[in-house]
Every structure is written in C-alpha cells, then in structure tokens.
C-alpha cells in the first residue's frame, strides 16, 4: 500500500507503479475488453449489412461499362464538340468499329447498348444490329467506317447517339440520380424531363403524402386507446394490451392477406354492406387496389407502433395533474388541452417518427393491396431490380429513400434516443 501521508512523491499502487498510470492501464484494459466483446458483431454487421448498402450507394453513381467496352471511341470522342451539330470525324467511327468488333467477340455490346438505352432510347437496337455484323469487320483494310456504319444502321448518323456516348463516358455518373428526380443531361447541363416522362418525383411525393396520412390516422386511432390503457387498473390494462400486442406479433403476410380478403369486391366488408342495404349488390365498393386499400391496411399494421410509445409516455403522467387543473376551475377540455395533451407530445413524436420511417419503406403491403395507384417508391425499386434490371436507377432511388430515412432516424435519435426504443 502506498503511504497517503507521503506528499512528496506520486501516489503508488500496490505493485509500485504510480496510481495514475495503473488506473489508466486498467481503464484501457476495460475499454479493450468491451471492444473485443463488440468486435465480432460489429464485423458481422459491417460485412453482411453495411458493406452491401455501401456497394449499392456506389452502384448508383458507377458507370465503368462505357469506358471499359468502348475505350477507343471514348478517347477519340473526347475532342469532339457535341454542340457543333456535326457528326464526329472518320477517326471516331473507325475507333467505334474496332471497339464494336472486340465487344461483339466478347458479347458485351448488348450490355453497353442497354446501359446507354436508359439515357437515349433506341441505342440498344443500334448496338445490337451493328454488333451482329461487327465480328466480320476488317479493321485494317475495311472502311471508310463512317459510310459503312451508317450503311448498317442509319441511326449512326444521329449526333444524339454520339453525344450520349460522350456524356456517359466518365466512369462516375450523375445520370441515375438525375433520372431518379425526373431530370436528364441535356445539350446544356441538367434539365427536366418532358412532362409525360416524369414518374419518380410524383411517386416520391405520393409515398411521403400517403405515409403522412397513415401516420396521422395512426395518431388519431392510437391516442384514445393509449389513454384508456394508461388509465385503467393494471390487470384490465394488461388484458387489453393483448389486443394490441397480438397484431404486433402476427405475421405481416397474415395481416395483409386478411385485408385482401376483407376488402375484395366479393369480400366480407362488401358482403356486410350489401346485406344491411347500404350498398347495392351491383355497385359494390372498390376499396382494394387503390390508395384507400393501402392506407387502411397499413394503418392497421403500423398502429401498434404508435400505441406502444404513446402508452409508455402516458403511463408516466400523474392523474393528479388533471384533477388539479379541474379543481382550479378548468373545464374538461381546457384541462385536457392545456395540461394533459402537451405532456403527451413526446409520445406522439416518438410514435409518429417510427410509423413514418416504417411506412415510407413499405413494400409488401402496397404491392398486394395497392394496385397501381397505391404503390410506393419501394415497389418501383423492386421493379427496377427484378424486372427492368436497371440496377443503377434502383440504387439511386434507394439512396434517395435511404437519405430521407436517415434524416428521420437522426431526428428520432435526438428526440427519443435509440437506447430508449422498447419492444413490447
């Protein structure tokens, strides 16, 4: 033991080292041990989750295919002035012929064709058609290539094609992102697409708007229920809580299929309405495959996520506050609005952000009950991954959605704190 009365030297630990250093060492060891315990999981999440997301983000700007497949043409085109209105010179056409010969031997000409087709519809068929003949090109002795290529497909005489190749030759592109916000690279910088080709901004606005509606209807429905649960005796509240937790634990697919069955034109709700005479048998309501269907089903699915945070906040508000307000002369409404409601706002905020985050990323329910009018941006992402195979655009749309979610996540962390998330 060090002698505490000895003030001349540093305080020593049992083994003779200065206490300060010994403590710092112990702290370091503790930190190291905590990190070692976390490390395997962190590594696992980084590899199986974070890296894929990063890869997707990279894919939304990656554009190596053009310069890899058409290296000579890209180089030859770099000196061409796209705004001159004239076709590139013979050297560029010769470079293109050589590139196409090589590409068609490697069978990559259709890939670059469909890549460029996203930006300039029609290019894919030009590449396919020319590529078929390109294997027999005699680069050394053939030519002149300008005439020969235009002879094979007259679209080679369209400066638009050459401009597109030139615009998308860098290995990093903003093209997918511009496309995702309904813009494109025009002759002089980014411009809006024509009115008829604008899809994604509308879809994003619709996704946000419907998510807001869903969040709002969740607030309306959750508030009375949370109040009731918070003010009932524990035993009864626990019993009623089961009615909230059962939907929470029931498979998403089960709940979605239940709504699909209920909302059909020959389904239970329409049957009941016809039976009590509210609706004529020939004029059954169309309440599925539209926005109404999506909103009803998703409100039902997300309602527990609103009730639970509201309930946990309301539980902490002492009922005596309301009684105090009333004994001071407040009416029921004033007591509620001026005293009770402001204290529940943290619960409303937490529930709303949670429901909104979950709602904007929904895919399954809108796909099954949304028809064409009630789908979300997620459905478009899924379409581009599995049907149109435009992965770059899918990634760009995903990146935009991810940005919205991360901003909300950050806000949630600031307001509620991720440590305070409770389940069940």
């Amino acid at each position: 033991m060090s002698d505490t009365t000895n003030t001349s030297g540093p305080v020593l630990a049992a083994d003779g080292t200065p206490l300060k250093r010994s403590l710092a060492k112990a702290l370091r060891r503790q930190k190291l041990r905590a990190l070692l315990l976390i490390a395997p999981l962190l590594l696992f999440i980084l590899i199986s989750f974070i890296l894929p997301i990063a890869d997707m983000l990279y894919r939304s700007v990656e554009n190596k295919i053009v310069v890899q497949t058409l290296p000579r043409s890209v180089e030859a085109l770099s000196s061409w002035d796209a705004n001159s209105g004239e076709l590139p010179d013979e050297a560029v056409f010769a470079a293109m012929a050589a590139d196409l010969k090589e590409a068609s031997e490697a069978k990559t000409h259709t890939k670059v064709g469909s890549r460029l087709n996203y930006e300039y519809p029609g290019i894919a068929s030009v590449f396919r058609k020319t590529g078929r003949k390109a294997k027999k090109f005699d680069i050394e002795n053939g030519g002149p290539w300008k005439e020969e290529l235009i002879d094979l497909d007259k679209d080679w005489a369209d400066p638009g094609i050459w401009r597109t190749i030139q615009t998308y030759s860098p290995s990093v592109t903003s093209g997918y992102f511009l496309n995702a916000v309904d813009m494109r690279v025009g002759a002089d910088g980014p411009e809006m697409r024509p009115e008829s080709e604008r899809i994604y901004m509308n879809l994003l606005v619709r996704t946000l708007w419907m998510s807001l509606l869903i969040t709002f209807s969740c607030i309306l429905l959750a508030y009375p229920v949370a109040w009731l649960l918070a003010n009932l005796p524990t035993r009864q509240a626990n019993l009623l809580m089961i009615l909230v937790l059962l939907p929470f634990w029931t498979s998403l697919l089960v709940r979605t299929s239940a709504w699909k069955i209920l909302l059909q034109q020959q389904g239970v709700i329409n049957d009941i309405l016809v039976w009590i005479g509210l609706v004529d048998d020939n004029a059954r309501l169309i309440i599925i495959n539209n926005q109404f269907g999506t909103i009803v089903a998703m409100t039902h699915i997300l309602l527990p996520f609103m009730i639970l945070p509201m309930y946990s906040v309301m539980q902490t508000i002492p009922p005596s506050y309301l009684r105090a307000a009333k004994s001071l002369g407040a009416t029921d409404w004033t007591a509620f609005w001026r005293v009770y409601f402001p204290q529940t706002i943290p619960g409303i905020g937490a529930g709303s952000i949670l429901v909104f985050i979950l709602a904007i990323g929904y895919y399954i329910t809108p796909a099954l009950v949304g028809g064409t009018k009630g789908t979300f941006i997620s459905n478009q992402i899924a379409f581009h991954i599995s049907t149109s195979l435009n992965w770059g655009l899918a990634s760009a749309l995903g990146a935009i959605l991810l940005a919205v979610v991360l901003v909300l996540y950050w806000a949630y962390d600031k307001i509620v704190g991720i440590d305070n998330v409770k389940l069940g």
Partner: protein, 284 residues
C-alpha cells in the same frame, strides 16, 4: 376517465360512454381482421367469404380441407421446411453475437458507444427494400446470392437489433457487484458469465431470440431477392399465392401462423413479467 365519479354531469356521462364505444371500435379494428381469418379457414367451399351454410352454423359448411391441402401439397411443405431450416440458424447467429456485444456495450467505458449502437440498430431502421437491394447486389458478387447461407446471413443481420435492444434493456438493471463477487471468490470470467450473469439476463436473451426468430420467420422482402427458388419460405409462398393464384389454403396457413404468434407472445409476456418481478420493478 377510467372510472366515472359519482358527481359527473349528464354531458360527462354521455362523453364517457361515447369514448368507451370509440375505444371499443378501435380495438375491433385492431383484432377483427385477424379474427375473421380463423373461421374462414374452415370454409368448405373455395370462397373467401362466409357462405350461407357457415352463417347457419351448419357443420356441412365447415371442413378441414384447406388444412389437408397445406399438409399434403409439396409446395407448401417445402416452404414450411425451408422456414424451419432458416429461422433457427439465423436466430442462433444473431443471439450469440448479439448477447456478447450487448454485454460489451453495457460496460461503463465504451469508446464511441453511440456510433456503434447506431450501426448495430441500423438494420431495423433501413427500409427492407434497400437492405434487400444492397444485399442482392453484394451477395451476387461474392456468390452468396441464391444460397442457403446467404439467406441465413441476411436474416441474422436483420434480427440483431432486436437482440441488442432486449438484452441491453435487461442489463440496465444488472447488479455489477455480482460479477465482482464471483471474481472475488475465484471464478474465472467464463464461469462468471455462465453461472452468474447468464442466468440473470436469460429472460432478455430469450425474448431477444424470439424477436429474432419471428423476424426471420416472417421476413419476405430480403428472402425474395437474396434467396432462390430453393430457399422459398412460408411467407414467400404466401406472397406469391396472394399475387398470382390466390387459394384458400393461404387462410389455413394464416391461422397456423396466428397460433404460432399467440404462443410466442405468451412466452415473451411471461418472461417480461418474470424478469420485472425478479428485479422488483413491478409489484404483480
């Protein structure tokens, strides 16, 4: 509000009962869609609505044929087996790694705790379609897409936030002097962990495991993209069933899944109450 005082005015009485009716309707909205599926699954016809026979409670109107179809149809059986093969393995992965990390995170001095927590919780926050897209692109690169292990890895990642949240919540009430006492009596860290710490945090670990299990068992979006036809799970089969040839067998499957979730919910609730009682947080 829960109880009406004897001096309440007529207006207050009316509002009180209206309020109870409103709450009743909301509870009805919550539970009715799930409740409707159960009787409909015993329909003798291939309809998705109540037949006149069913409404008359005629035994003729009811049958088990959709259940028979579920247990004899190879597509559904295959899907069931895939679900049973994938979910437990993903659960074991997320629980073992997640519990270790939760213990690490609850140590008093963890550098960058907030950032680490944010990363570990992120699979729960990032929309599933984005996780699915990223995993599909990335797993295709490393030849994991369309394999059993690809799906297991993906599902384990999705289940981890739930394990972290439930286990750290249990560790908040954990008395650290217990591990010191064990060490003092000569137990090595591994013994301390399994004989002292583990039994006390077990309720949290089990409910985390159940959350992770149900996450994997119910998951559709990621498995559709990352998996191939060989890994078709029960929810996936339901999804295609609802999209294409909608068959009433789905109702039987839905009823079975509701039964599974009732069982899981009961276990989680019992565990939660037990752990609250153990830590003296609740009187009941």
């Amino acid at each position: 509000m829960a109880k009406l005082p004897p001096y309440a005015t007529t207006g207050q009485r009316i509002w009180h009962y209206t309020f109870l009716v409103i709450c009743g309707l909301i509870f009805f909205f919550l539970i009715a869609p799930i409740a409707v599926v159960i009787p409909l699954s015993f329909n003798a016809e291939n309809f998705f609505t109540f037949t006149p026979e069913m409404l008359r409670l005629d035994p003729e109107g009811y049958s088990l044929k959709h259940y028979r179809d579920f247990f004899s149809n190879p597509d559904w059986q295959n899907a069931l087996w895939n679900s049973i093969k994938i979910a437990p393995v993903a659960t074991i992965l997320s629980v073992s790694l997640g519990t270790l990390a939760a213990i690490g995170l609850s140590q008093p001095h963890v550098p960058a705790r907030r950032a680490i927590m944010a990363i570990l919780i992120s699979p729960m926050i990032v929309p599933l379609i984005i996780s699915a897209a990223g995993m599909y692109f990335f797993y295709s690169k490393i030849n994991l897409a369309g394999t059993y292990w690809g799906v297991v890895l993906a599902h384990a990642a999705l289940g981890i936030p739930f394990v972290i949240i439930t286990v750290t919540a249990t560790l908040v009430g954990f008395d650290r002097s217990l591990t010191r006492a064990a060490a003092n009596m000569g137990a090595d860290p591994v013994t301390t962990f399994f004989r002292v710490q583990m039994p006390l945090i077990l309720p949290g670990v089990i409910s985390g495991a159940l959350f992770a299990f149900i996450t994997s068992f119910d998951e559709v979006v990621v498995v559709i993209f990352v998996g191939s036809a060989k890994q078709q799970t029960l929810p996936w089969q339901m999804f295609t069933g609802l999209r294409e040839q909608i068959s009433p067998t789905i109702l039987a499957v839905a009823t079975i899944l509701v039964a599974v979730s009732i069982v899981l919910l009961t276990i989680v609730e019992l565990l939660r109450r037990r752990s609250e009682r153990l830590r003296g947080m609740s009187p009941g």
